[in-house]
Amino acid sequence: METLHYRFEQGTRPLGGMPQLVGVVGSGNLEVLIEAAPLQGACEIDIRTAAVGFGATWQAVMADFHARWRLADARISINDMGATPAVVSLRLDQAVESLTGGTP
């Protein structure tokens, strides 16, 4: 297992509502827990993944995600079992949409 942590400052879109969980920790899949949290306008992402050594790919996928949504005061926690970057991006969008109902 590998643990990764990302923090993106100065988001513009604060989250509301109850925490939401989307996805399942199954082969090639992941679960994404999204919650509002007081983080001085930042979005923090914690990842625990079974696929070791893909930090650069995660970094790129997370940077794309933040560029799409610019979340503020949001905590995202991920348990991953080897999902591909496309699946990770779709799950992240699904997680945000489950809270906001909106599109980027």
Partner: protein
Amino acid sequence: MSSYLELTARQRIPAIFDAGSFEEFLPPSERVASPHLAQLDAPVSFDDGVVVGRGRLGGHVVFGAAQEGGFMGGAVGEVHGAKLVGMLRRAIDEKAHAVLLLLESGGVRLHEANAGLIAVSEVMRAMLDARAAGIPVVAVVGGSNGCFGGMGISARCANVVIMSEEGRLAMSGPEVIETANGVEEFDSRDRALVWRTTGGKHRYLMGDCQMLVADDTAAFRAAALEAIGSIGNASLTLEDLLAEQAMLSRRLADTEGLAEPMDVWRKLGVPDPASVPMLDADAFLELAAPYRAGGQR
């Protein structure tokens, strides 16, 4: 028709319980995950693969759980089992109208060894405690992972088991039997054989499940409402046990030496057993009702 089989545990809860009524205990945001899996450096899930809580069904307060087959095949670890047990005990404390268990599990999570085994035995005890307190317990088996091992036994501790044809219920799963006894004994890759021996239709004919429905969330919900309404005395009595024992003895004698489920169905009196796997739920029930081995409710 809206498939139950294809839903996740979290999608099944709102599809079965009254809309917006379910309040989850220990939700994922509490992050009560398995300490054993973390020690083994294996992936964990924030809900340890099970949703438990209290909702309403047909307006009545019904406690419930849904196991997530996609996470480790729904296998029961220490936390997963403790969540089920805690929910069942709270159902007793709060005098719930009923408990509805949406089961999908390969049984004990072997990574957690004795802790998982103890957890499953505690689930069975808690189910029987709920029944002893007069609270009907209904199990639903309709997920793609089926219900096997310790959870297969647990399912049969319920007052009523509701299955779809696609659901499977047994003790040892197909791969386990093949590994232990060889492919000549059981070919786990023969999907038709697997469903003939463990699927909902066979379980209904053998008396191991009391209700069979199509793979449809509305059908499962309606069956759960009907099952809960039909249970008079939820507790397990000596008469129930004796009747079940008599049924099992009769069934064993009637089917002795038969290895192929279609031969078993023929022995039960089912006309044209070869047609059974192709029938939809309604047509099957019409055909099968007079011949099923019966069973305890």
